[in-house]
């Protein structure tokens, strides 16, 4: 009997908890299990950080890597896993403490939420291409069902739209996997990376295009992201925080993991990815200016940040990659905060349109203050973590003498400031007709305040975890290390 804390627990434990859901219903432990599972896994992730610093942890499942499935835990994937589980803890505590709507509290939502996090964890952990597809389906199917959770007209429309577009994207990815298998006869990511260079150039281009379209839809990049605002508008704002905070991050990570792994020289794709990122960022920020609904505004803002992260990751230098990973963490926290605030406001005012939220700053002072804090963090103002992560990215570009991305990022931040301050101004408008109902749902604010504290802490003392991001960037870019650690085991 040996009880080991291996990476597979990140997937096996939540699966077990989700399958055993009827038991938790009977014991009345549903919400506490939803809270405890990510908490335990977050603890496990933190405890594993020192171990993966030296060498990536490989976990064989049944048969050794090039033949079988393995889980690949290095600094980069561990960072993502820790982030997803932290987000899961925050989300569960918001549901638990916040006395939320019954449609978020049953057995169904419990299973879907838990498995959405598990699917995303699997996406970043797996070292096998087909296994990646399976986790993509797990994350996808739970997201489709979650977006239709409220079962009114907009929610059902969102769910149907998401189902169709997500399935089409998955088919693109599946075609790319079929072609890769036909060309190389391998499914292991490291073995594919070794053999990818031998594929004819035209075929490489086709596979790359299929993957880019499929993952571009999933990661909400520019020409493929027209569906996003409708889905963010139709879903419950609390659920949307999971999409923006976890799901997109997982797919972005997968996209760049594949790019850095398959291409011996990521500079081939650099221009394309950076252009996509820059376009995503600018288009989204410009469209966000005229939005009249808070969820749509936040959706476009989220797309803008995704574009910024893509721009920085696409450049593929160590400094910008570290900055981009930092910004991912940061953006997950900020968007969870903002969408939680949106959920609280929606519950109170039953609408999130700009005109209906006039003077909300007087009715819900704490929530509005947290919204202001969150928007300042998105903009990247000094005492908050957004400043540090954006500075990291800009410094990375400046070191490499690339100045056009810097100009674009600053321009995007300026536009962002334009629309966030427009909303804040309306919030603090003194309107005599402002709704004056004061019934504070106190405990619901606990996770929000915790996020705000984390944002401040990361902004004031980034040195606490800055090394992790650099290490993670090295792991993400370190194609040689991955190939050696996986294929070296075999010989």
């Amino acid at each position: 009997m040996a009880f080991q804390l291996t990476p597979v627990w990140f997937i096996a434990l939540p699966l077990l908890v989700a399958f055993a859901a009827p038991l938790w219903v009977r014991l009345g432990l549903l919400m506490s299990m939803l809270f405890a599972t990510p908490l335990v896994l977050f603890g496990l992730a933190v405890s594993l950080f020192p171990a993966v610093g030296d060498a990536p942890l490989l976990e064989t499942i049944v048969i050794a890597p090039p033949l079988g499935i393995h889980l690949h835990l290095d600094s980069a994937s561990l960072l993502m896993v820790a982030l997803f589980n932290l987000a899961g803890v925050l989300f569960a505590s918001f549901l638990w403490l916040g006395d939320t709507e019954p449609h978020l509290r049953g057995r169904g939502p419990f299973v879907l939420i838990l498995l959405l996090i598990t699917g995303c964890t699997g996406l970043v952990l797996t070292g096998d291409l087909f296994n990646l597809y399976v986790f993509l389906e797990i994350a996808g199917v739970s997201a489709y069902a979650l977006s239709a959770l409220r079962r009114d007209k907009t929610a059902l429309e969102a769910g149907l739209k998401y189902l169709i577009i997500g399935s089409v994207a998955a088919i693109f990815i599946l075609l790319a996997i079929v072609l890769l298998y036909l060309e190389t006869g391998q499914l292991n990511l490291a073995a594919l990376a070794r053999d990818f260079g031998d594929i004819p150039a035209a075929m490489q281009g086709l596979i790359g295009l299929l993957l880019l379209v499929g993952l571009g839809v999933k990661a909400e990049l520019f020409p493929f992201n027209v569906w996003v605002p409708d889905i963010y508008r139709g879903s419950d704002p609390a659920v949307t925080s999971l999409f923006s905070g976890i799901l997109v991050k997982a797919f972005l990570f997968v996209l760049f993991h594949l790019v850095f792994l398959l291409l011996a020289d990521p500079a081939v794709a650099r221009a394309w990815l950076m252009a996509l990122g820059a376009l995503t960022m600018l288009v989204a920020e410009l469209v966000a200016l005229r939005q009249q609904d808070m969820r749509r505004m936040l959706a476009y803002s989220s797309l803008g940040q995704v574009g910024l992260i893509t721009l920085a990751l696409g450049f593929a230098s160590e400094a910008t990659t570290a900055g981009a990973l930092f910004h991912m963490v940061n953006h997950t926290l900020v968007k969870m905060l903002l969408f939680f605030v949106a959920a609280l406001m929606l519950r109170r005012f039953l609408s999130l349109r700009l005109a209906d939220l006039r003077g909300v700053g007087h009715a819900m002072p704490v929530a509005t203050a947290l919204f202001v804090l969150g928007s300042l963090a998105v903009l990247g103002l000094p005492p908050l973590s957004g400043f540090v992560s954006k500075l990291c990215i800009l410094k990375g570009f400046a070191e490499a003498q690339a100045f056009w991305p810097i100009a674009l990022i600053l321009l995007a931040a300026l536009i962002e400031a334009g629309y966030y301050f427009r909303w804040i101004k309306v919030f603090y408008d003194s309107d005599p007709a402002a709704p004056q109902c004061r019934s504070d749902d106190g405990p619901a604010y606990l996770p929000l305040v915790l996020i705000a504290g984390l944002l401040l802490l990361l902004g004031v003392a980034p040195f606490l975890i800055e090394d992790w991001f650099v290490q993670a960037a090295r792991a993400l870019l370190g194609r040689g290390t991955i190939l050696e650690s996986v294929l070296g085991v075999q010989s």
């Binding site: 009997m1 040996a2 009880f3 080991q4 291996t6 597979v8 096996a12 699966l15 077990l16 989700a18 399958f19 055993a20 859901a21 009827p22 038991l23 976990e59 064989t60 499942i61 049944v62 048969i63 090039p66 033949l67 079988g68 499935i69 049953g106 057995r107 169904g108 939502p109 299973v111 879907l112 498995l115 699997g122 087909f130 296994n131 399976v134 986790f135 389906e137 797990i138 199917v141 739970s142 489709y144 069902a145 239709a148 959770l149 079962r151 059902l156 769910g159 075609l175 079929v178 072609l179 298998y181 036909l182 006869g185 391998q186 499914l187 292991n188 075929m203 086709l206």
Partner: protein, 244 residues
Amino acid sequence: MSQVPLRKRVRVKTLLLVLLCGWLLALFLTILLPHGLDGLSGTVGDALLERNAETASANAVTSVVVSYRGFDTLGEVTVLFLAATGVGMLFGGRRQEETGASVARRAAPNEMMVTGARLLFPVLLLLGVYIIAHGHLSPGGGFQGGVIIATAFFLRLLADPDFVLDHARVGLLESLSGSGFVLLGLLGLVLLSTGTFLGNFLPHPVEAMGRLVSAGVIPLIYVLVGVKVGAEVGAIFQDMLEQE
């Protein structure tokens, strides 16, 4: 009809979409067809087939599905579980709002059909059980057998007005088999000295290959997969039926 102008009768966008899909399909076929099925050699699949004896499962496909790539199978079962949960939430939840209305509306089918379905039911069930239990020996297995069992229940649900499936019991079965799958996987991790998740921790001597009790943990896992698939597909059928 004739008053509608031509540009409204012919939907250009739809037509273009169809053409685009057709062109993509043609392109894809021109790429795929040169790769005849014998064109592939030295693939992972071949390597796994060569090592089939290790699992002592007479059906090589089963040893790949349940053992070597058992993690994928666990994932697929989870996808099905999610789909069943989603369908249950979207379709099934209205039962409380419109109680009884849907049950009463359905007219009773004729006697021939009811009796026929009742006679077929045990035969289908037996066939499903056989296909699941022999998954490691002959073509078939948990997924196929599970769907057959679900079909048997679906037939009864459609044809037999007195037949009701207990939601709670189906859910319990689903959760027990799913948890069992993960627990078997974890036992492999914990019990073996060189333990891996889903490792075959029961004795599986090669001499026993071809017998019903062979291949260690593989048939056990396949039985759980069968129960789970049966319960989930059955639950989906039932939720959609009650929705009417």
